[in-house]
Symmetry: C2
Subunit: 336 residues, 2 copies
């Protein structure tokens, strides 16, 4: 980033904010780059920006989409997102990718994966957020959601990329969690997905087309029966089990109907806003932990002490427990 | 726990330590209960105990075993553990179970799952460690390994229970990571397991018996070919792909041979001890983070401030970022 562009942040924050609230895509992109920046002055500007637009956020439905690789998430989001723009919605697509931590950057090609949606003037597709760790990625994604809302996007889709830890993170930042599945996964696969099935507000068997249609219908029945064994969700929402073919563009309207029905039912019951309040509290605690640790581990004095203890542990001269106790006692003494 | 038993810890630590080093199973059980205790005085005693026996630890091979539910982990450990006792080894079986966090206790029936092994005088089977969070569970399990070693167990098996986050934790505390698999898992299953396959030091197709034998041999060939596509591991160890039937007790001797070969190759190259040093460093950093956070969140003054900020966030009066920044500024001011 060159110096002239950087000055845009610090000096022209009011203009950037006005453009964001006017729904300008370039401003939204710049704002996201700002909150992702690791520079201290950028972080101060990001704090001001977020605090100033907080009153313009929240007015959207936030949808999480997950499923194993190969289930057809990209094709689904491409088609479903296009449908949403056709019914007058503005759609933002974000993603959470644990593997982007190691590579320290967004995965290339995220934009090109959703070729037609990313060129749609009513849609905004952003590659995975960067971050030093999973907590950092989650935090940035949550602030991206707020910025998209401030820019007037009223459907936010957060996709999990890869598998493993990201499902829980995404579940904690969305209103509606959609699990894409395939017909014909074995028992072992179902075992792996059981924890994630329990998080889902909607099960959707994709690739219900051609010779696979009958299999998909059978699988939907099976899952519907299985769901009866689960305890009722807190939202009292009856989790629908549907089939669709993103490729042939069938079954997607029904998903949108379910989503609207979920929104009206849970808004009436109060669950919708109560859930968001709880999610914000969780986020607050997560960020507090991350920032506390960042503060301590950033102290040069503490860093030196840590290095000493590391050496003792490597030589077998100290147990891990004693090394930690010693370090904390010296640090806590300093605090008191 | 009654008061008289508790006094055993604080007053009779030298006797407990002597019994532990003499390999008495009851003493080992008591020591594990001590390190798992959440009482402050117990934790002080636990610290003393661990520090005093640290010189008696490390003399074992630590094996991690994972695989999807239904792969036959319990049967495998029962048979493999028995084999190890027959060749003169003393075997301890521990497990890491993320779900035990919620239930705040060990899963019942862990002992009865390995019926014959748990009655074997040369074996020690312990249910899953308890802990307030995944980091706590991992920490307790690592200290359990040390206590088992101090008691003279020279093969430590750490099993993952459930699926998801525990594989990485277990990989970080063992020398050798064994992945049990089934023949006939679909492509989707392989997708899910790819990250875990890359961690494995040994792939083993279980249930290679009866009509399934030919399928298992075919799967082993396929995995062997697939492994050629992976980058060489840091240990330079060529990951074997084998088949076995825990039920029919076939193929287990070969696993033990591979394990011994791994140990001698990596001890000669220096990888074995270097890897343990790195693991101890990782553990140290994890524990340091956990303990720092526990200290802060335990302060009554801080707790009150957190509550205030929570209320502001719930009412939409503050962004998460600003609430965290305010809290840290007040706390850091106190430190400086």
């Amino acid at each position: 980033m060159d110096a002239s562009f950087r000055r845009t942040y610090t000096n022209h924050l009011p203009a950037l904010k006005a453009d964001l609230l006017a729904g300008k895509r370039l401003a939204l992109s710049k704002c996201i780059t700002l909150i992702e920046s690791t520079r201290e002055d950028d972080q101060v500007a990001a704090g001001t920006l977020i605090e100033e637009v907080i009153g313009n956020t929240g007015n959207s439905i936030r949808i999480g989409i997950t499923g194993v690789p190969g289930v057809g998430k990209s094709t689904f989001i491409e088609q479903f997102g296009t449908l949403l723009t056709e019914v007058g919605r503005r759609v933002a697509v974000l993603s959470v990718d644990p593997t982007s931590i190691r590579s320290k950057g967004a995965i290339l090609g995220d934009k090109t994966r959703m070729h037609s949606l990313s060129k749609n003037p009513k849609a905004f597709v952003r590659p995975s957020a960067a971050g030093a760790n999973l907590g950092g990625v989650a935090n940035t994604t949550r602030e991206c959601i707020l910025l998209c809302e401030a820019a007037g996007y009223d459907v936010i889709i957060v996709e999990t990329v890869g598998v493993g830890q990201s499902e829980t993170l995404v579940k904690e930042m969305v209103d509606y969690f959609l699990l894409l599945m395939l017909a014909g996964g074995g028992d072992e696969l179902q075992g792996i997905k059981r924890g994630i099935m329990e998080m889902a507000d909607h099960l959707l068997i994709n690739k219900a087309d051609g010779a696979n249609l009958a299999l998909a219908e059978k699988a939907a029945k099976d899952y519907e029966n299985a769901l009866h064994l689960f305890p009722a969700s807190e939202s009292q929402w009856k989790v629908p089990v549907g089939i669709c073919s993103a490729l042939e563009n069938t079954g997607l309207h029904k998903v949108w109907q379910s989503l609207q029905s979920f929104q009206s039912v849970t808004q009436e019951s109060g669950f919708f806003s109560e859930n968001r309040r709880l999610q914000n509290c969780q986020w607050f605690h997560q960020r507090l932990r991350t920032q506390l640790l960042d503060y301590f581990f950033g102290e040069p004095d503490f860093k030196g002490k840590i290095k000493q203890k590391e050496d003792q542990i490597k030589l077998g001269k100290s147990s891990v427990r004693k090394a930690v106790d010693d370090l904390l006692q010296s640090q806590i003494h300093k605090i008191k």
